[in-house]
């Protein structure tokens, strides 16, 4: 019996020849990447009565800690927490502790750390993003990470896999966001509950890495445990340009599904027919084609986050706003998702174009997505390409959040109302 990508990785990591969905395995972890929750990992171990916290870390070369979520700190509490983490990091003798020039954990992990075929855990739900590089990644809470860090293993229930077959060709006005929203609209946010998703087909093969990042990131908004792409030339080229962690480069173990792999469900999406998608408040699966909400007045527009703060996302924004002006009653924030992305934006001349158009460019981080910057007041309407539109996600519970692609957000920012980006890109 053939296996899917995730089944193969689970089998390899748990020392089995084959595994089947529903099987419980104790799997060896290839990598753990934690952000500020590292603090809770440490304190949870102390609180349960392990003196000094974690007695050891199974492999310091496979553990990364980044002070990235709120960098720079927004208040004294965050500052104090970061200060304590620097102390703890020293005490644990961490090899890979990153305190500056981070950016969003998932983007940085893709730029510098994760490798194809790995089973990797992150202290954040959007760790599924790493599937863009054929890495089987997922989020875990601090208690489970504390366990995994000491012994390098954790329990898993091997998930069933859904195959999402992407047909048609990729075009730059599309975002992985549109694909994810389309799937959520059709299949709801429990589409892949307790399951893995494999993104496949000619459309997936044509997607650039940045577009794959957005789609893989949203595997969790589809309920999924993993969201994985195959290894191909796009991934190979992306990794060839990586300079960090050079000593680990040949640890990569690309994984392809067997031709006779069994999927619990197969769905098709024709990218050529896909209209820009918008999620209305307050859920990711409350989706309509953009035409149904065109004209909705907005006060704030945002492009950023692990999903959509990538170079291609910002390039799309520039294509739309260059030589135009953001609507005077709309504030438009763009937040690159890493300092490497930020640097590329500078090198390509994006930043002056954005500033000339009236866009406020922020330093990389997770601030916008959580309302830590640009918090919304009661009555505010925001369209954003960040990750979630839950009620109260970005400030007041009486604000309205619409989710859409960077193209739709940028076009809407110019008009001051939700706009079909195809009108501007035409």
């Amino acid at each position: 019996m053939g296996m899917t990508i995730v089944e193969k990785v689970m089998a390899r990591a748990s020392g089995h020849t084959t595994v089947h969905p529903g099987q419980y395995v104790d799997a060896k972890i290839d990598r753990v990447i934690a952000h500020e929750e590292f603090y809770r990992i440490h304190t949870a171990a102390e609180e349960v009565g392990i003196p000094g916290g974690l007695p050891d870390i199974w492999d310091r070369d496979r553990f990364h800690v980044l002070l990235e979520h709120f960098q720079p700190a927004l208040n004294v509490t965050q500052s104090v927490r970061q200060q304590k983490m620097r102390e703890v990091a020293k005490r644990y003798g961490l090899l890979h502790f990153r305190d500056a020039l981070c950016g969003v954990i998932h983007r940085v992990a893709i730029e510098d750390y994760v490798l194809p075929g790995e089973l990797a855990l992150g202290s954040d739900s959007h760790s599924v993003a790493w599937g863009a590089l054929n890495c089987v990644g997922t989020g875990m809470g601090e208690h489970e990470l504390a366990y995994a860090l000491v012994y390098g293993t954790l329990w898993f229930k091997v998930p069933e896999t859904i195959r999402v077959q992407l047909e048609g060709s990729w075009h730059p006005a599309l975002s992985g966001k549109d694909v994810a929203l389309h799937l959520a609209g059709l299949h709801t946010s429990t589409f892949a509950l307790y399951k893995a998703i494999e993104f496949a087909g000619p459309g997936a093969a044509a997607m650039p890495i940045d577009a794959r990042i957005a789609l893989a990131t949203h595997a969790v908004e589809l309920g999924g445990k993993f969201g994985v792409f195959a290894y191909d030339d796009h991934v190979a080229r992306f990794l060839a340009a990586r300079t960090a962690m050079a000593h680990q480069r040949d640890w990569a173990r690309p994984v392809a599904p067997d031709p006779d792999a069994r999927y619990c469900q197969e769905v098709q999406v024709d990218l050529g027919q896909l209209e820009p998608q918008v999620a209305k408040p307050h859920n990711f699966d409350n989706v309509v084609p953009v035409g149904q909400v065109v004209g909705t007045k907005i006060h704030q527009a945002q492009v950023g986050s692990c999903a959509n703060g990538n170079v291609d996302d910002i390039a799309t924004v520039v294509r739309i706003v260059k030589g135009r002006r953001v609507h005077p009653e709309t504030r438009f924030f763009v937040q690159p998702n890493s300092w490497a992305v930020y640097r590329t934006c500078i090198e390509r001349g994006f930043i002056p174009d954005l500033l000339d158009a009236g866009v406020q460019v922020l330093s990389p981080g997770c601030h916008l997505c959580l309302g830590m910057q640009g918090a919304l007041a009661s009555g505010d309407v925001c369209i954003t390409s960040t990750t979630r539109n839950f009620r109260g996600r970005m400030g007041s519970g009486e604000a309205l959040i619409y989710l859409a692609s960077p193209a739709t957000v940028a076009a809407s920012a110019l008009a001051g109302a939700i706009t079909d980006p195809r009108e501007v890109l035409r």
């Binding site: 419980y24 500020e36 929750e37 603090y39 809770r40 304190t43 949870a44 171990a45 609180e47 349960v48 009565g49 392990i50 003196p51 000094g52 007695p55 050891d56 979520h69 709120f70 509490t77 965050q78 104090v80 927490r81 304590k84 202290s123 954040d124 739900s125 989020g139 875990m140 809470g141 601090e142 208690h143 489970e144 504390a146 366990y147 000491v150 012994y151 329990w155 229930k157 946010s189 429990t190 509950l193 307790y194 969790v220 309920g223 445990k225 859920n283 959580l370 309302g371 830590m372 918090a375 979630r388 839950f390 009620r391 109260g392 996600r393 970005m394 400030g395 519970g397």
Partner: protein
């Protein structure tokens, strides 16, 4: 915040919520954005839990109450405070049509019951008294007499829950591990 061993049979008063109760509704981002895990943070989490849906909820919940919800309870963030806030409020269990993956794992990890009972929202109203029997894997609505089966935990999950969470399992393993004997100091009891 790892819990002690949960009870096998318990009775509680129901608070009923709908579908897609996400982690931002339970613990809004501004209340869980990396505090210090101290009493002050626990107070903030408790006092702001569910504030968009039910302001001052913490003044209404009593220890031993049960939260009943629709499908995909706890979707969204990895944030464990969403789980621990329920414990702080006094809840002994969440019973939902379905529970989101991370919320379920985090519940197991802290030794808190997040139970799946398909059909639960049809057989329970707010304020009802619910009896949960973890030995028989059934719930009984003491107010209207209706019963339903609970989706049983796997053996492994059951073991972690009974230990009082995964860090109790870790502690036991560390205490028995010769590698850590020399560095270990006295261990406070649970």
């Amino acid at each position: 915040m790892t819990q002690g061993k949960p009870l096998a049979v318990f009775t509680g008063r129901v608070w009923k919520f709908g579908d897609n109760i996400d982690t931002d509704l339970i613990t809004p981002a501004d209340t869980t954005s990396f505090g210090l895990g101290d009493e002050e943070e626990r107070r903030i989490l408790r006092e702001n839990a569910f504030r968009s849906l039910r302001p001052a909820f913490h003044t209404q919940v009593r220890p031993g109450d049960i939260l009943v919800a629709g499908r995909n309870f706890g979707l969204g963030s990895h944030r464990e405070p969403a789980n621990t806030a329920l414990v702080s409020l006094g809840f002994v269990a969440v019973i939902a049509e379905s529970v989101a993956r991370l919320f379920f794992r985090n519940s197991v990890a802290i030794g808190f019951h997040a139970l799946q009972v398909p059909g639960i929202t049809q057989m329970v109203e707010e304020g009802d008294e619910l009896q949960v029997d973890m030995n028989a894997w059934t719930i009984r609505n003491l107010t209207n007499g209706k019963t339903a089966p609970i989706e049983p935990y796997s053996e492994l999950v059951q073991r972690i829950i009974e230990a009082g969470g995964i860090l109790r399992v870790l502690r036991a393993r560390v205490e028995a591990d010769a590698r850590f004997q020399s560095t270990r100091r006295s261990v406070p009891s649970a």
